[in-house]
Symmetry: C2
């Protein structure tokens, strides 16, 4: 017999309902609530990676991501080498978001009929390039025939000293909110790939395309931030800033204010947006897949953090601050404060299928 539930939605409204009315994050709750942590589990479901006690003052960080053709990527845009890069980089980014270094990977590769060996070789060339860049060893995996396109599931294991792991749940009222690099490049790249008729200088198109197809995980910045022990919460921007800052706020039981004028947007993305005639703020807030680090810091530690990242050549921007839970999430534009809604990517919600 199924057990009665505690759930966000009224119990009558979701039994037997379609999952696309629920959304991915409710689905994760459904899975997580039935599975208590075991011995050695410092953090299970609900952060960028699981955190397992590895002894000797170290933890083992562990994450998995599946990329499906037609959902996460379109081979009309992606070369197999891009897919090799991205499938590993997004998992490395999850390890980085906890403050860890990646060590090992498993690759589960589903291939459709008609795939040629040179495509698999290109995939592995992209993978190898990325594995070398992050010092990740491929130690196993499996290969299956997939009836409907490529399916790529990557699992990455990493390590971190136990006292330096950064969770989502540590943000406190008054903390400053920071982000590394620039936002919106990946979404701009996807937009141009999906709208090839838009005229745009070639160097601009290539730059944002690269950002979308071959994201960079901020491991060096993440490890430096974790070593400082001044970061109260951290996540990588995969779903989109609005959703990911929401994950920090939910986990930490706080609200936030994001200052629109402080959001780091490259001139390349602004130029793209002019050619595409869209508001770049949409890409920046909700586009996702930037894989930059979003983190919170006590105000008295802000200067030290900024100096620390400057030394290693990492750009960082203060984009907001943590507020009491009751204030919710707000976007500040000049004197105007509007609710900031988590509108980043969700696999199931509102799919209307």
């Amino acid at each position: 017999m199924l057990e009665p539930l505690t759930y966000r939605l009224p119990i009558t409204s979701f039994r037997m309902m379609d999952l696309n009315k629920l959304g991915e994050f409710d689905l994760i709750d459904l899975i997580a609530q039935r599975t208590p942590g075991g011995p050695g589990v410092l953090r299970g479901i609900g952060d960028d990676a699981a955190v397992l006690n590895a002894g000797n003052g170290q933890v083992c960080l562990w994450t998995v991501d599946t990329l499906l053709e037609g959902i996460h990527f379109d081979l009309a845009y992606y070369g197999p080498d891009d897919l090799g890069v991205k499938s590993l980089a997004v998992n490395v980014s999850d390890i980085a978001a906890m403050g860890g270094r990646p060590l090992y990977a498993l690759l589960s590769l589903g291939l459709p009929s008609g795939v040629r060996e040179d495509q698999v070789r290109l995939f592995m060339a992209g993978w190898d390039e990325t594995a070398r860049a992050y010092n990740v060893s491929l130690v196993g995996g499996d290969t299956v025939y997939s009836p409907q396109g490529w399916t790529v599931t990557v699992t990455v294991m990493g390590t971190c000293p136990k006292d330096r792991v950064v969770y989502r749940a540590g943000a406190r009222v008054g903390d400053f909110i920071y982000v590394t690099g620039n936002l919106g490049s990946s979404a701009a790249g996807l937009y141009l790939l999906q709208h090839p008729a838009i005229t745009c200088p070639e160097h601009v198109r290539l730059a944002v395309r690269q950002a979308h197809l071959r994201p960079v995980a901020r491991v060096t910045a993440a490890v430096s931030l974790a070593e400082s022990r001044l970061v109260t919460a951290m996540i990588d921007i995969s779903d989109g800033l609005s959703s990911d800052v929401g994950h920090i706020c939910t986990a930490s039981g706080v609200g936030c204010e994001i200052y629109a004028s402080h959001l780091p947007v490259s001139e390349t993305v602004r130029e793209c947006a002019r050619y595409a005639q869209v508001d770049p703020l949409e890409w920046v807030l909700n586009g996702g897949e930037d894989y930059e680090l979003l983190f919170t810091v006590r105000p008295d530690a802000a200067q030290e953090i900024e100096e620390r990242l400057a030394v290693i050549g990492e750009q960082v921007s203060c984009i907001g601050r943590i507020t009491p839970l009751g204030d919710g999430m707000r976007l500040v534009k000049g004197d105007d404060k509007t609710p900031l809604l988590p509108r980043g990517y969700d696999h199931f919600k509102g799919r209307g299928l």
Copy 2:
């Protein structure tokens, strides 16, 4: 630039060829040859699980398996709860095949449109039952929308003392070959599921159906065998006896003789075979998915191994012996010796798509 290759097939014959002419095991070589092991990697690709040095005399065992609807399972046969059981059990079996105990799991779940929440709950009920049985904690995962059916990727991490890990590569000429339990039940179950018109007593149908849908991983037997330090090589039977004994022989650089009369076949499977009018030997040799342990032992340790397993109530059968490489793999039936061809499951070979 892609590098020139050393490969089983002549170089001219496989460039740009379809992967279905290659076969899964060549594909694994293609992936493995480009990725050298890193620091701490005791065994990478090529065994049931990766073996990573975890310090303190322990290793971390790590494995992944993807199950795709329409390829690995048909929801006309499988309840979501069966799928929850099997997706975890087959990975636990890979950890057991190295002599280890499972500890943690990640679950990556791809769900198509139209999936109902009660189906996900059933899946998790099957998962939880299995996780409790093997003391595995679910610590993370991801959920994605899958355009074409359920995709279930499970990663399991386990542990074992470093000096007790059992690899595929240790079999030596003269060793006895053993298998736990009975063989062919899973293939018999699949056959009856695929041929519902076959009349058969209901208790027989249920028993083999259960073997196929809800396999049992032999963790207790595996740990006992590893503790004995008398086992020279071990694998679990997933692809099929003929293929899996082939994996041991290839890794160990030896041949083998399998005695047909010694193969353990339950009366239930024999009865199934009579109703189905097929030779049960086909199921036993090539059916796969039995998840029994196949292992080799020095002759002077055979009695101790048999007694050890008898004490914990595990059935074990001596089914053959290891021979020199030059003798190949042979099936012995009475006075007759015929080549034993690895004809177990391969995802890509001979698919003809």
